[in-house]
């Protein structure tokens, strides 16, 4: 699914190095090739010699692949994936809490890996499969992680919970039989101020033991 090695000179966007720093969730080489193939994006005149592509300040029409659907959107270069998901696509389950990658409230899946959508520009998400907390529900059936959160009453105010759910999904995809320690370590990027952690750990552990969907 993911190509890990980057090819120097081909990696694309000005925030490339930044994104790589966000936890290696995005294979940089894959970003470029996919983005350039994406509809509405491959405008050669906007690709500079260094491979850095300019996006017009007034916005660019791109197609985002979100929750299995193609969603055409016009995005400005300064808009984060989080903003576009919430404000243009109505996917408000993904929350903005700290707006700088410290809380995990805006976690979404990008090609199956969890990322902070507040730290990714929307233009950079083109060509990737984005899945939000809403998209974990399939044909009205909750994802096993969501069901485990329901059964364990794993929330209080609930504002952080979409982030915890999505991160837990990614964690269990990576470690299907996650140990309690792996769960604690894996959720260290998410903050729950009401501190429903005991219930959250129980839920993720149940989802892990329950065959992981």
């Amino acid at each position: 699914m993911k190509q890990k090695q980057s090819r120097p000179g081909e990696t694309g966007f000005s925030r490339r190095g930044f994104l790589k720093g966000v936890g290696g969730a995005v294979g940089a080489a894959a970003v470029v090739s996919r983005v350039l193939e994406a509809p509405g994006l491959a405008r050669a005149d906007e690709i500079t010699r260094e491979g850095i592509r300019r996006v017009p300040a007034e916005g660019l029409e791109i197609t985002l692949h979100v929750n299995g659907e193609e969603r055409p959107v016009t995005v400005r270069p300064d808009q984060t994936l989080l903003e576009v998901l919430r404000e243009q696509l109505g996917l408000t389950g993904t929350k903005e809490i700290c707006d700088r990658g410290a809380c995990g409230g805006c976690t979404v899946l990008l090609d199956g890996r969890s990322i902070n959508s507040c730290l990714m520009l929307a233009v950079d998400a083109a060509g990737h499969e984005v899945r939000t907390v809403e998209g974990l529900v399939q044909d009205g059936r909750l994802d096993p992680v969501q069901q485990a959160f329901v059964d364990s009453d794993a929330c209080q105010c609930g504002y952080c919970i979409p982030g915890f759910v999505v991160r837990s999904r990614a964690l269990l995809d990576e470690f299907p039989n996650a140990t309690p320690q792996q769960i604690r370590d894996g959720l260290a990027g998410n903050i729950c101020r009401c501190a429903a952690y005991a219930r959250i750990f129980e839920a993720v552990q149940t989802a892990a033991a329950g065959g992981n969907g």
Binding site: T92, C155, R199
Partner: protein, 695 residues
């Protein structure tokens, strides 16, 4: 006194909170999640420094920035970081940010007051107070008779609420009416204040807060966000959003004030507290107060002369925070209790039993000691090796007076039930309480009952403060359900042609002799659109109240080479009278414990002493306990009376934790760390100081 792990209602109601599915799928919509057509964004223009005068600004450049609708500066002088100097309104959030940048504010800074120790009046000043003078003779006697007298000062830091849903408001004024959404703990107070801003009667302003992303005391009243959104929506005739960013959350949306607490207490030869002198200082905003602490409290202190001073600093204003004054007060109290016990050569558990004011807590102390394994506690500082274990105790209680609320229930002919309250669910499980009370009293499955809350057109109810919501509302929910049950019973009796008092109505089934009628069949007898019942009296459902007593035992491990404190286990005993729903009660107990472990060990609002600016207005350097910091927590729902009412829960579980953690650390390392947060540096400093060195 009986101890059972759960009680009747809680055992019946072991379901998860009724809105959990909406919360895990993203379907639950908070105030932040609405983006109406024509939305304008607004925010305050703020002073970044503690004390500063606005020297220059590029007002016209900001007004000319693309998308900016209006920029107004209303004052030049800022007296705390985040002080509101004016406002800006724009077509989008980006335009708002660009307009603010274009404003290019330049300030002339003055030296701010940032340090409570530096700004406070000296202790001696308060000895002249009449309340001290009149006890002077007693105090002199106490100190002369005392077997031991200790003089100590404890310090606690400023804690910010850090609600994850920021303070935000969305007001849509439409001339003759308005709709508002606000993240609030008090639907009706927001609605009422908004009517004044908008110049509309209460029935023309509809306030919504169906989901609220945490409040912890900081979301009462219309507040600056609602004031500005209301004012600008009325002016422009468009929906206006004011949304605080994370920095503004820390700076200007309330905090738990810091404290310095001086205690000079004496104990007699038998180990009983005789009394003494206590003075506390609280760090508050540039004007006004609100820095009080609950010290002394809970234990039988004897004769105490207590005085307090609020110390004005150039920092944000306090707002009520989950048990205002209590966790910091009880930190000093519990630490002092352990130091006194140590001086008297007594076990801290025995010392507390001796000076305890509550029989309920004395029983809880016994159970808690057994649950944590108190016998494993060693005398302070005697643990071998670099990883040292320590044990500590904290206690609390809470008042349970009655209050007003109204509940309406609709029973539909298809057997479904709605229960309505305008009060809000801020994450405590208020919806769940309503559903479980009504389902219990009607004897039907909770899936048949839906709670509708957080809208000002629903029946009036309290704001979520002082841990009152459940206690005020539960008797009315039970009473309304009981009325509906009796109404249906009469309809069934009429249908069968028998006296109503001969018809049994239990578990949702109606019976007379060998005849039975199901809930669904009975509801078909409702001869109108629905059966509506409204209850505003407590009636027979106001039961005898408890003291919402709390006792917590904490076990820590401290690495004396790194200074790192790890909480290993907490046993949290909590009397809630009648627990309504086991999972939400336990969740709130454990959450409270973790939040105040976070306060004891990590959280700290740090001000730059030169500029008064906050150094860590974010979530990476304002450290909050996370998944790696969570100990094993054993919540124990206590029952002290077999037929108690539904009592306070929100606040009491957070009160004992910091003191218990502090005592456990002192026990582990053999020297008290008298200042929170108990960071590695402070642990190492305390050890070094004891050993005659410095870190």
């Amino acid at each position: 006194m009986t101890w059972r792990p759960d009680n009747r209602l809680a055992l019946e109601n072991d379901g998860s909170r009724v809105d959990v599915r909406d919360k895990v799928t993203g379907a639950a919509r908070y105030t932040t999640d609405y983006y109406p057509e024509g939305l304008l964004w607004a925010s305050y223009i703020r002073c970044p420094y503690g004390k500063a005068f606005l020297r220059s600004s590029k007002l016209e450049a900001a007004r000319a920035a693309p998308g900016v609708v209006e920029v107004e500066l209303e004052k030049q002088e800022g007296t705390y970081p985040g002080d509101r100097l004016g406002h800006i309104c724009a077509e989008s959030r980006q335009a708002l940010e660009q307009g603010l940048a274009a404003l290019a504010l330049e300030f002339e800074r003055d030296r701010p007051a940032t340090d409570i120790e530096r700004e406070k009046k000296p202790l001696e000043t308060f000895d002249e107070d009449p309340s001290v003078q009149e006890k002077q003779a007693d105090l002199e006697r106490i100190f002369s008779e005392a077997a031991h007298t200790l003089e100590r000062t404890y310090q606690t830091q400023v804690q910010t609420h850090s609600c994850l849903e920021p303070h935000n408001s969305l007001v849509d004024y439409r001339g003759d009416h308005a709709t508002a959404r606000q993240s609030t703990q008090a639907t009706f107070s927001v609605r009422n204040e908004l009517t004044e801003v908008l110049g509309l009667p209460p029935d023309k302003v509809e306030m919504h807060c169906e989901h609220v992303g945490g409040g912890f005391g900081s979301k009462f009243g219309l507040s600056p966000e609602g004031q500005l959104a209301g004012k600008l929506s009325k002016k422009h005739g468009r929906p206006v959003r004011v949304l605080m960013n994370r920095e503004e959350e820390h700076l200007d949306n309330g905090l738990r004030p810091g404290s310095l607490q001086y205690m000079k207490l004496a104990i007699g030869p038998d180990g009983k507290l005789l009394g003494g002198r206590i003075h506390t200082w609280g760090s508050v905003g540039p004007v006004g107060g609100g820095g009080g602490t609950s010290n002394p409290s809970r234990y039988n202190f004897g004769i105490v002369a207590k005085t307090h001073q609020d110390v004005n600093l150039n920092s944000g204003f306090p707002r009520a925070m989950r048990a205002p004054g209590h966790p910091q007060g009880m930190f000093a109290v519990e630490m002092m209790m352990d130091e006194l016990a140590e001086a008297a050569g007594m076990d801290p558990l025995e010392f507390r039993r001796l000076n305890e004011t509550s029989d309920v807590r004395r029983a809880m102390l016994d159970v808690g000691a057994e649950q944590i394994g108190w016998h494993r506690r060693k005398p302070s500082g005697t643990w071998e090796g670099p990883l040292k274990r320590g044990f500590g105790i904290g206690v609390a209680d809470w008042g349970n007076s009655p209050g007003e609320a109204t509940i309406t229930i609709h029973v539909y002919p298809n057997g479904n039930v709605e229960v309505l309250s305008g009060s809000q669910d801020i994450g405590t499980g208020f919806r769940t309480l309503l559903v479980d009370c009504v389902a219990h009293q009607l004897g039907i499955d909770r899936a048949r009952v839906e709670a509708k809350v957080g809208v000002s057109t629903y029946p009036p109810g309290p704001g979520s403060g002082g841990s009152v919501t459940s206690r005020f509302v539960a008797p009315k929910a039970l009473g309304a359900a009981e009325q509906a049950r009796q109404d249906l019973r009469q309809r069934v009796a009429r249908e069968w042609g028998v006296p109503a008092d001969e018809v049994a109505a239990e578990n949702g089934v109606f019976k007379h002799a060998d005849r039975t009628m199901s809930w669904n069949e009975a509801c078909k007898l409702i001869g109108q659109d629905r059966l509506t019942v409204t209850e505003k009296e407590n009636g027979i459902f106001w039961k005898e109240q408890t003291g919402s007593e709390a006792v917590q035992f904490v076990e820590v491990e401290v690495d004396v080479e790194t200074g790192i404190v790890r909480v290993k286990k907490v046993v949290a005993l909590q009397n809630v009278g009648q627990a309504v729903n086991r999972k939400t009660v336990e969740n709130q107990i454990t959450g409270g414990v973790i939040q105040w472990i976070s306060f004891a060990l990590f959280e700290d609002r740090i001000l730059n002493r030169q500029t008064g600016a906050m150094v860590n207005p974010n979530l990476e350097f304002y450290k909050i306990a996370g998944s790696r910091d969570i100990p094993e927590i054993v919540p124990i729902i206590w029952q002290s009376r077999p037929d108690a009412g539904v009592n306070s829960l929100g606040e009491p579980p957070v009160v004992p934790t910091p003191g218990a953690v502090g005592c456990a650390v002192a026990n582990a390392i053999g020297v008290p760390v008298r200042r929170m947060p108990i960071t590695p540096w402070r642990v190492l400093s305390a050890l070094a100081e004891r050993d005659g060195g410095a870190v």
